[in-house]
Amino acid sequence: MTTAAKLASRRRVLKGMLAGSAVTVGLPFLDCFLNENGTAVAATGQSLPSIYGSWSWSLGLNPGQWEPPTVGKITRMGRETAALERFKDKINLYGGLSVFTAGKSPSVHYTGVHAPLTGQVLSTIDPVPASIDTIIADHIGASTRFRSLQMVADGNARLTPSYRPGGIQQPGEISPAAMYARVFGPEFIDPNSANFKPDPRTMARQSVLSAVRYQSKSLEKLLGASDRARLDEYFTSLRQLEQQVDLQLQKPAPLPTCSPPEPVADPGSGKEVEVVVATHKLHAKIAAHALACDQTRVFNLAYTCGASGVYVKGDPQSHHVLTHEEPVDSELGCQRRVAYLNMRSMGAFADLLEALSAVREGDKTLLDRALILGVTDHGYARAHTLDAIPMITAGSANGRMKTGLYVVANRDPVTRLSLTVQQALGLPVGTWGVESMQTSKAISEVAV
Amino acid sequence: MRIREAIAFVAVGGATALSMVPAQNAVASETRQYAVYLSYPAMSNEEGDCKPSNPDSIGILREGLRLQGKSSAEIEQAVDGVQRGDKRPDISMRGKLEGKTVDAYLYPFSVPDSQLSLVQGHVGIGFNLDGKDKPEDFVDPLTGERGVDNQLFRVLGCSRPWRAKIGEAGPYQLGKWEQTFESAPAWLIDISGIDSAENDDDVEVRVLLAKQPLARNALGTALAYLTFTADPITRTAGNVVHGSIKNGRLTTGKFDFYLPSEPQKQAEYGLRDARMRFEFLPDGRLKGIVGGYQDWRPLYITLALRRSVGEQSGSYDTPGHYYAFRKLADAYPDPKTGQNMYISSAYYLEAVPAFIAYPEPSQQLTRAQ
């Protein structure tokens, strides 16, 4: 059977009668199967869609303790990045990227992480523009069930750095069990399941949601500008919900790499480091499966937010308190207990990469078509510096970024990396950021 | 409600040691109150101290089936089944009395004495109850006392459910106390008249029952500083004794001790000629021993109540223990038969700080009510 015939036979359209109405069961335009080389490709011959993830952690890394010994190809990791050793060919580490405040008053544990994600120098009282994950989601995530997924591991839902336009924050889901129920609960349609029977109630949902939309449209006329923006946000969300419901009426194309995970239980709550690490691991697992099943193509996973109250059980001082109060260990050259918790942060990132790498797609993994941007709030947490903030990327967005490199910029703005990331994902952006954070230079060492 | 206020010393471990200042008025004496969260027979086992080892659950099953007249093949088949996860066969009807097959738990003497191994050594915890130093007595390594009477240890110390190192509980008591944590009315200890926690020649110790069970804290262990309402049942009214504190260790005089209990744990705790000793631990808990002579029949009944499943899963050969209790009982002989009806014993008590609320006298119920 020729490829064309294969395609034709797959593009069959079923007309069925569903409680008196016709329902079209079609296939989305993007099918996927392996080509002759065993590489997973789409029906159109294109590679599988790219994925973007924002990952954030608090309190940076101790300067001098995380950097690989030489610039260029990574041969060895630093002490605090040791957990990433086995992924050294898949990640890039960036030194020398900074936030230039240009006279503005930054907020501690806030400005540093928001700068690369929004392109602006923000303090806690400034309105926040759309964040990079939202911008990318609007570009690459418009056709999936979820435009993006937000998760947070340390319980700080309202500090998750993910914003829609108009300053609407998207709080992260704190519970992996709830995340699981949302993505893989009763409304999940397994693309590989042989029986697909659209629920008649789904059509009812469609009619109800459009009724909601129509009858409330006129409200906009009643409102002032800023409230109109919030109502717009509501309508955007309503459209997304309608799209989700529409997708439930279409049988999705089979995805060989999609398998819903087993239900998960929350490992507990609070900021004890083992609990936060375990929560993060479960979130990463659910995210990986959600991505493999094309439920979304964008996610925002926060390991720790804000000043990070993570603590080791039995130690009265939390991570943040330690960064300010723990004396520097003369033997180690840095704060010992802080270093331990920094290593746990990097260990968590490794857990995320592990979860993404576990999804094999032909001779590659999910990580290969993903691009993860890892950001933190300070270069040296003890002094709240915004210089040389460590940054990480992982994955190559389907080969659109070089990996395995340690790049040291010459005191450039962090937005250079944000720009590079967006370009690697195919966004038509030449300049990004505002004022002192504006840049049009991608990081050439990693650009393809 | 008349409440006896308690102020307890608590030192929190870690970088900063914090403690509470005792009552402002140094002349007034202090009261310390506790709720018991665990009690277990005082053991002092060491590796290999019971030779030969008493039969384990399979051994007990084999012997039970043999007494029931099963063939070797049947026995092996049953053993295989149990090891693969089948239900344990009921071996209760294995006694022979006047030619009839009878329940071995109701009539333990209908089964031959299996001659259980008993603890042979001379290191044991407890008190010298009779004032004598006899060959079967122990030396208590914690106090140095000689002539310590604890025949209960000899009987239970070679059985798996109770074996433990000094100051530790065996699996049986741990399991039973955990099981009854939320249901059993708590035991309370009230120590009053403390002028000095280091040296004081007269304090009063009272042991009583609470109306409420224990509550759990965030770690799942007993919540400290909870207030319990004292249950004024008459049978605990006699649990009052005076003691003295020397170098931080409290020891009491003689009294008759009684606390009701859940049958799963132990039918009752009734000790004659009892004495107690306690230590105030740095983390605020109380740990100590109560020792005395107790009627061994309720002890036997505690085992017998668990019948065939208990005997096998607990590996403790019920009729064998009957014989052991009979043999080692060492006090209060029956005037007609001369058989000692009481056995010397010692039990650990571990408790967390608590408060006790005593009901008004008018609210106390008499036994008749």
């Binding site: 405040t101 004890e272 | 500083y225």
Partner: protein
């Protein structure tokens, strides 16, 4: 054909251009009016707000309309706190995609349960002609009744028509009338008119050039302030009849609501917001160090403070300032284990509440020495005098303590010094010596250090590292030796009652006060609060019957909502 009062002025203008002309002239009048100048044209009032229902408001409205056994099968996004209040944050919160998914889940579950066999007899006022076929007339009756309570105003004809239509379509698809009703109801529950408190304004005949909330919006503001829920039938009727626009009608409703036991709900809701109790949800303590802090104990700590407040301010009609000095409270035996004090279990139950008074020498005085305040503003494993001091100033004095500066020089805090300090007071001393840090630490630390005899879960301790804890401090020039003295200082501090006045008003209007409002709040209203001997129900009465609370003064900055 029902139409709300806010429709009346427009129904007479039939042509669209006619409306435009009227609207334009209105705007012109307003613009001119603002140029004319002060008091009369300005008025005391502010913008109308559009507030997302908070979690509790949502739950309360559902419970009021459908009873408490209807389950909420979804999750809420965490409430947003702005300017110290969730009530103000509600005016900024949006509905994200994931939030709407959850609202939709809840809406469908409620719709399905309300119309199931058990419940339909309670809520559906009519029977369909056939259970398998649409019955628009009955659907309309049900949806109009439910809709009015849920939208907090009667539905407009076109709104109702859409919901009835979707109910009809659903019945057609599924073959079941009640399923159709359930989905129609679900539509109402997913609509912005339910999820948001959309305040609508109209011209104010009493103050030409200014606007006022429509009767239904007045009812909504009043009802959420006093009872933390949507307007009940009686209040809706007073709105419908126009009584709420009269002094007599408004007074009547306010008195009725102040006299009701439901006032307690409103007071609890306000203080739960002001005291930031929602943060207990994500508060954790290190159980290795503080095993007596369990989830139940935390709930009881919150409840203790709320009961103390309700007892003093509502039940006893007491002086608000006494909240900072009173030793009277309530306790359970279980909560007593956190404080390490004996509390006789009432009726033998360790979780039963019983009146309790802290002993005079216990060091406890007022709600700042309650475990709820002390535990909420501390780290998992240790206290933070700075955080406690900051919280005390921000929550009770309405003072804003700035964020720490980004440029902090830690070289002063070198290793040798760290080893020498024994107490947290000594360590914090360094902050008040450095000019960069002193500005804030001098106002937070002396307050927070006074509370150092209470550990991170609120338990008492007298010694740190072998040194007795020094609890002396100073606030705005007033010196004290211990928390009792701090409580007395708060009692006498003028900012404390004026902060309450401003906070309560903000809570009611859902935004920070406008300039003219602030003048009124800190001037006339604060004086009246004092004259009323600082009694909260009196303050609520003054706010709820004031012109300002319902006056909409359109400004360039605030969102103005105009009626059609």
């Amino acid at each position: 054909m029902t139409s709300g009062p806010h429709m009346m002025s427009w129904s007479r203008v039939s042509k669209r251009w006619g409306r435009a002309v009227v609207f334009a002239s209105l705007s012109a009048v307003m613009a001119v009016a603002q140029l004319i100048g002060p008091a009369e044209a300005q008025g005391v009032g502010g913008g109308a707000t559009v507030r997302l229902l908070t979690q509790d408001e949502y739950r309360n409205v559902i419970a009021d309309v459908f009873g408490t056994d209807i389950k909420l099968a979804g999750r809420f996004e965490p409430d947003l706190r702005v300017n110290g209040l969730i009530a103000v944050g509600a005016g900024k919160a949006g509905v994200t995609g994931s939030a709407l998914e959850q609202y939709d889940n809840m809406a469908r579950a409620i719709g399905s349960e309300v119309t199931d066999e058990r419940h339909r007899v309670l809520f559906v006022p009519c029977a369909p002609k056939s259970i398998h076929d649409p019955d628009p007339a009955c659907a309309k009756r049900f949806l109009a009744e439910m809709g009015e309570l849920l939208f907090r105003r009667p539905l407009m004809d076109d709104e109702l028509a859409y919901f009835v239509d979707s109910a009809t379509q659903t019945t057609t698809h599924t073959g079941d009338f009640y399923t159709g009703l359930g989905f129609g109801l679900a539509g109402i529950l997913s609509s912005p008119q339910f999820l948001f408190r959309l305040e609508v304004s109209e011209e104010d005949p009493a103050h030409p050039g200014l606007r006022r909330l429509t009767a239904y919006s007045k009812a909504e503001r009043l009802s959420f302030l006093l009872w933390n829920s949507g307007p009940d039938q009686a209040l809706l009727a007073a709105a419908k009849s126009g009584a709420l626009h009269t002094k007599k009608g408004l007074d009547e409703q306010v008195e009725r609501m102040l006299a009701s036991p439901r006032l307690e709900n409103g007071v609890r809701a306000f203080f739960t917001d002001m005291l930031e109790f929602d943060q207990f949800d994500t508060l954790g303590k290190d159980t290795t160090l503080y095993p007596n802090y369990t989830a139940e104990v935390a709930e009881q700590a919150k409840e203790q403070t709320l009961r103390t407040i309700v007892n003093l301010l509502v039940r006893d009609r007491g002086d608000y300032r006494d909240l900072f000095t009173t030793r009277k409270s309530e306790m359970t035996a279980r909560l007593g284990s956190l404080y390490r004090v004996p509390v006789s279990p009432r009726d033998g139950v360790i979780d039963a509440w019983t009146p309790y008074e802290f002993a005079p020498d216990s060091g406890h005085a007022g709600i700042i020495t309650h475990a709820s305040f002390l535990a909420l503003h501390s780290h998992p494993g240790q206290t933070s005098p700075t955080i406690r001091g900051k919280a005390l100033r921000e929550v009770f004095l309405c003072q804003k303590v700035p964020d720490p500066p980004a440029t902090v020089d830690f070289s002063r805090f070198n290793e040798a010094t760290a080893a020498r300090t024994k107490t947290v007071r000594e360590r914090l001393q360094m902050h008040s010596e450095s000019p960069v840090c002193a500005g804030c630490h001098r106002i937070t630390d002396p307050v927070g250090l006074t509370l150092e005899k209470f550990d991170t879960v609120g338990g008492f301790r007298a010694i740190e590292n072998g040194t007795p804890i020094d609890t002396s401090g100073e606030m705005n020039g007033v010196k004290y030796e211990d928390p009792v003295g701090l409580g007395a200082a708060l009692h006498d501090n003028k900012s404390v009652p004026s902060c309450l006045v401003s906070r309560l008003y903000s809570y009611g209007v859902g935004r920070p006060p406008a300039a003219e409002e602030s003048k009124w709040l800190s001037g006339e209203l604060a004086n009246q609060f004092a004259a009323d001997r600082y009694r909260l129900p009196a303050l609520l009465r003054r706010i709820a019957t004031s012109d300002a609370f319902y006056q909409i003064v359109p400004t360039a900055l605030s969102a103005s909502v105009s009626s059609k």
